[in-house]
Symmetry: C2
Amino acid sequence: MSTLPTPVRSAVVLLSGGLDSATCLAMASSQGYQIHSLSFRYGQRHQYELERAQGLADHYQVASHTVIDINLAAIGGSALTDPSIAVPKSNSVEEIGPHIPVTYVPARNTIFLAIAMGLAEARQALEIFIGVNALDYSGYPDCRPEFIRAFESMANLATKLFVEGHHTLRINTPLIQLSKAQIIAKGLELGVDYSLTLSCYDPGEGGRPCGHCDACLLRAKGFAECGQPDPALA
Amino acid sequence: MSTLPTPVRSAVVLLSGGLDSATCLAMASSQGYQIHSLSFRYGQRHQYELERAQGLADHYQVASHTVIDINLAAIGGSALTDPSIAVPKSNSVEEIGPHIPVTYVPARNTIFLAIAMGLAEARQALEIFIGVNALDYSGYPDCRPEFIRAFESMANLATKLFVEGHHTLRINTPLIQLSKAQIIAKGLELGVDYSLTLSCYDPGEGGRPCGHCDACLLRAKGFAECGQPDPALA
C-alpha cells in the first residue's frame, strides 16, 4: 500500500522554445493537464530559445516553469555546444545529409528525460510530453519510438513515486510520427502563435533565424507544405 | 558498416568522493582501463566531496576528470539539496528507518548515468562504473539491479556510438551486492587510501564527518566489521 498522496493530473512538458515543443505544449494544454514546463540552459550557443520558452510558458499560464542549468559543453562533441564546430548550412532540405549531424548532442534527450522524470516525481506528475520526431530527425537515435519505450520501462523502475507509489509514468510523444507540415497544421488548429517560437540553431542578433541551418530549412519546408506563411519571419 | 573509429579500452567512472565510488575507481583502475572520472556539482549542501573526488582523480592519474554543474536543487524534494529539510541523525544503524530516506534525490542516478553515457560516447568509452549498492541503500529504487539492466537496455538504443557504431555500452556495478564491510575489504586489498574519501551527508568545518547521519553510521559499521580503523577519522 502506498502512503503517497494521489497525484493530480499534471504533466511535465519539455519546452525548448522551438516549433515542435510549442506544439507539444499546446497539445498537453488542450488535454487539460496542469503543466510544469521544463527548459535547459545546457551550453547552447544562444539564449534566445530560452527567452522563447519563457514567453510560451507565460502565454500558456503553466503551473511552474523550471530552467535547469547543466553545462553539457563540458562533455563536448556537438556543434550546438562547441563554438569550434561549425553549424552546417545548406540551401535546401535535399542537401541535408543522411548521417547523424554534428548538431547532435551526445545523450541529450536521455539527460533531458531523466531530469524531466525527477521533476515529474517532485511535482507528482504522471505524464511527460516531449516533442521528439522520428521523421525529420531520423538521424538522432534518441528520437526513435524504440528508445522512448525503453526509457519509459527504465523510468518505471527508477523513482520513488513510480516504484513505491505504484503509479506509471508515461512518456508522451505526440509528434513522433508527424511530418513538419502535419505538426504545424496541428498547432495552427490549436491556435499556436508560432511567432513566439524559434527553431534556428544559429540565429543572428535579436534571434533572427539564419535561414540555412537544418532546423530553418525543415521549418520553411513545413510552412510551405501547409501553404502558410511563417509568422516568425513576418 | 560503421565509420566510427574503434574505441580504446576506456571507462567512465562516476566519482562522488565517497568510500563506494573510490573503491569502484580502484577496481576499474586495477582492470587496466583508461579512466574518465565524472563528478557532479548538483546543489549538494557541501563541496567537500568534490574536493575528495578531485584528490582521488589525481591519485589515480585518470585520463580526464569532468565536473558537471547541474542545479538539481531547482527540482527540490531532497534533504541533500534543500537546506529546509534536515538530514536525519541517529545513534546507530538500527535506528535507520526502512523507508526511502529524505536524502533521496529524485532521479539522481538516472540523471548521473545519462550524463555518464554522454561522456562515454564523447570519449569513446564502452564501460561505465557506478558504485551503487543494493544492500545498504535498499530504499533507493535506482540502486537495484533491475533498474541498472533497464538503463543499460535503454542506453544501447540511445546514442550514436552504440547505435551507429554497433558497440555495446556496459554499466558495471561491482559493489551492488556487497556489504559495506565487503566493499572496504575489497578496497583495502586494492590499496585504497580511505583517508582521501568522505561519506558524510552533513560534514562540519573542513569536511569533518558528523558521525550520526546514515552514511556515517553505515561507514563506521563497515570498518568495525572489517576490524579496521577508519583512516578518515585518524
